[in-house]
Symmetry: C2
Subunit: 232 residues, 2 copies
């Protein structure tokens, strides 16, 4: 059976995202320099704080900002000054207010895919922020359905497929995260195309080898061919 | 044409919510007492900060927490100490971690409505937090569809109706906010039942008089009768 529905991840698949978080993190490391000699300690403490806070905050820039503030309190034994706290909130707002920058080639590829498949966008993060980005991307009309989710596991994808009336064995998910975009869909009996982005958030790291149900490609331009190959 | 689909708001319609924000705000006012004589000044400054931040943060507890921190910086001229900032983050986590408490009578009323109508839940706020609350409420199975939205305007309701295959003239929305639950649906050609909650967030205040398309009731127990009356 050929692929009927193609799912696309958004952050770092259609547009740049993680880079903005990394810019903020670098500024945050510099902000902590008076208290922390080794910037790696700052990053490690931030990641631990984010992991611990995941059950409260989920994913997205607002939770990231709150975790930076909490990390600053930890690293400075509560001595961090108000001006720095204000700067951290500013880092968060910059992420939230950053214009959407499509990855090169995305507009053409999504238009090409839309001619052949039903397209759904499946993205994780802050609802409000993701909706703004979808609207600003100029791509919304090419998608039959946009689903903003709090977690990307097999149950989530099953729910999305139910919603759009599709079955896993005719569904292919395209994204930059093996862990969130490809493996849960393969587990469900579907297909995947992994398009690595040049930076990956530490919490999304995963290792796996391609198989009959998914492939890795070099860039977004290779996606239409890869999807067609999987469906052959 | 009789009503076919009933939409229900969640926060302060199905379960208690605003009370938790108000508890946090009261604690925040006390936290600011060393710098601010008049607690009303604290509340007013917080509300102004929330309004200004709406375009970045949208609705929900994470944005509220960031706005409290920003307000603390403003009110203390950046002199607020790290321990207090930590307490503010704690207030936010308490809201996010608070168990769901259904409003008296809700479980029976929703079950009654589910026998006669297709039910959709339409709620605003943090995606992750709202999904947790829907899951914890024990009501999820009674709803055909759950839609978590970033804004409740006529366009949002039109999108929800498109998604569930319903038309406005056979749709009735039930909720505690005239501004968000009732008036936009009436504007769309639908019906509404306003169930006031004993406290209303300042940003949700609205005044209007009932008409042929919507009614106000005293409590959730009166909702099935009110919906039936509107559809007669």
């Amino acid at each position: 059976m050929p692929i009927e529905i193609v799912g696309l991840d958004a952050d770092d698949t259609l547009w740049h995202n993680e880079g903005q978080f990394q810019v903020s993190e670098q500024r945050f490391r510099e902000l902590m320099a008076p208290w922390v000699d080794d910037e790696e300690v700052t990053s490690r403490t931030l990641l631990e704080t984010e992991r611990r806070n995941l059950r409260y905050f989920g994913y997205g820039a607002k939770g990231f900002t709150l975790s930076m503030i909490e990390t600053a309190l930890t690293l400075t034994d509560h001595r961090v000054d108000g001006r720095r706290i204000e700067q951290i909130i500013g880092f968060g707002k910059e992420i939230l207010d950053h214009p959407v920058e499509l990855i090169d080639g995305v507009a053409d590829v999504v238009a090409t895919l839309a001619e052949r498949y039903r397209l759904v966008l499946v993205t994780k993060g802050d609802l409000f922020h993701q909706e703004s980005k979808v609207a600003a991307s100029g791509l919304a009309d090419l998608f039959e359905h946009v689903e903003i989710v709090s977690e990307k596991d097999p149950a989530t994808y099953a729910r999305v497929l139910l919603r759009v009336g599709g079955s896993a064995d005719r569904f292919c998910m395209v994204g930059n995260s093996l862990k969130s975009d490809v493996l849960p869909v393969v587990e469900l009996g579907g297909f995947g195309v992994h398009v690595p982005y040049h930076v990956t958030w530490a919490m999304e790291h995963a290792e796996a080898e391609g198989g009959p149900r998914w492939v890795e490609v070099d860039g977004i331009a290779d996606v239409p061919g890869a999807v067609a190959g999987l469906s052959a």
